[in-house]
């Protein structure tokens, strides 16, 4: 990407303020092997519903109507394939057909295109459908040139969570072991849905503060059931939890590995020594105590447990 991507598209994100070094260190400014002039060799397109600070860094800013991401992506897919597009539907997106055609033209002409999509796409109306649409668009553009799409990850090692769960269970998130083997079903086993329906009867929360971010019915359920929080700080969630355990801060006083959003694992180099144990140590100790209790499955099937 750094060496080849000459068309960089940010969709539903504001990297200038949320990922301040994304432009300078990774995607826009660096001089690459095939982009010797750095920024001058790249075209940057920003797609968003409002003008953010990132607009200044963009060559082209496409302001779309809120909640129309899926429609824009689908129209782009149609134009890529040369299909008929209904002018009434284009009008609803807030863009003109010329703007959309120009974008598709640039996409096809690019030697290597990349679309970074933020929460403005993946967390608004349409959610999974939007992510799916942008990934499909990227996949289809590979009929013409090299194209990729990548989510702009917010939290430090959320990419690591995807990678570790994929490696150990075969699925990236929303996994249930209630039958003794991993099953993946977002909507059924995703946290907000589980909590809002009241399906879980205990929760272990680490590296997150759902008490500050989740919908109220989900928070209410966390307060009803025994919730255990591991966190370097006493958080909103800790206050409604039965148990809070203070842990060392990842990367500052806890060593280990973290994944960059492009799935490059990096070693953490802590500068401080924490008076608290690491999350890893606490989870392991909880596991040791649970291990000696009678197993809930009479017959433990062959599972990923053997990996560890």
């Amino acid at each position: 990407m750094r060496n080849r991507a000459d068309l960089v598209i940010y969709w539903g994100g504001n990297p200038a303020e949320c990922h301040p070094r994304h432009f300078t260190k990774y995607a826009l400014m660096p001089k690459g092997k095939h982009l010797p002039r750095g920024r001058k060799d790249r075209t940057m397109v920003l797609v968003d519903i409002r003008e953010t600070k990132s607009v200044k860094a963009a060559d082209i800013f496409l302001q779309i109507r809120p909640g129309r991401d899926f429609e824009v992506l689908t129209i782009l897919r149609a134009i890529v394939k040369g299909q008929y597009v209904n002018p009434a539907m284009v009008a609803e997106t807030g863009l003109t057909i010329e703007q959309l055609r120009d974008l598709v033209d640039r996409m096809k002409r690019a030697r290597f295109g990349v679309m970074f999509f933020g929460m403005g796409l993946s967390m608004t109306r349409g959610k999974h459908m939007n992510s799916s649409a942008i990934l499909t668009l990227a996949a289809e553009l590979n009929a013409y040139t090299k194209f990729v799409a990548m989510p702009m990850r917010g939290h430090g090692n959320v990419t690591g969570a995807d990678v570790i769960m994929r490696w150990t269970t075969g699925y990236p998130f929303g996994i249930s072991f209630d039958r003794g083997y991993p099953r993946f079903n977002p909507g059924e086993f995703s946290t907000v849905d589980l909590l809002v329906r009241g399906d879980t009867d205990a929760a272990l929360i680490l590296g997150a503060d759902p008490g500050a971010t989740m919908p109220q019915p989900a928070i209410d359920h966390l307060a009803r059931i025994p919730t255990i929080v591991l966190d370097p700080k006493v958080t909103h969630t800790s206050r409604l939890a039965r148990v809070h355990i203070t842990t060392a801060v990842t990367g500052i006083s806890a060593p280990g590995t973290g994944y960059r959003m492009d799935e490059v694992p990096l070693p953490l180099r802590p500068a401080l020594k924490s008076p608290y144990p690491t999350d890893e140590e606490v989870v392991r100790r909880i596991h040791e105590l649970v291990r000696v209790k009678p197993d809930w499955l009479v017959h433990q099937p062959r599972t990923t447990q053997q990996v560890f």
């Binding site: 260190k25 430090g156 269970t169 879980t200 205990a202 929760a203 355990i245 990842t250 105590l289 209790k293």
Partner: protein, 115 residues
């Protein structure tokens, strides 16, 4: 004052995970984070090695770490469908342990990705 210098330190505040930060720290706090952005600076400079919080809380009261771990294990073992959630601001090593625990419990494991 003697400062420890950590070169090529890794910032885990956002998904960029920049690994070219130079940290200057005394025994208690990081005093300088070179090359870090504004978000990274506040991330590094606002976390200290002080004992700012009790080791553990049980029902809101201060408790010993060992007791808290025992109570946590008891709750999780008794549950029919425990949930292990979060995993974003922890190391891969901790994530691996968490998945392993979820499997042992016959529970659900999930991250911020599902939000």
């Amino acid at each position: 004052m003697n400062l420890t210098v950590v070169k090529n330190a890794t910032c885990t505040f956002c998904g960029c995970v920049c690994d070219d930060i130079e940290l200057h720290a005394n025994s208690e706090r990081i005093v300088e984070a070179k090359a870090a952005c504004i978000l990274g600076k506040s991330w590094f400079l606002n976390h200290t090695a002080e004992r700012a919080y009790p080791s553990a809380l049980i029902d809101g009261r201060e408790a010993e770490l060992d007791d808290a771990i025992a109570v946590a294990a008891e709750y999780l073992d008794k549950a029919h469908l425990p949930l292990v959630y979060g995993l974003s601001n922890v190391t891969c090593e901790a994530q691996r342990e968490a998945v392993s625990l979820a499997e042992r419990l016959g529970g659900v494991v999930d991250s911020h990705t599902s939000l």
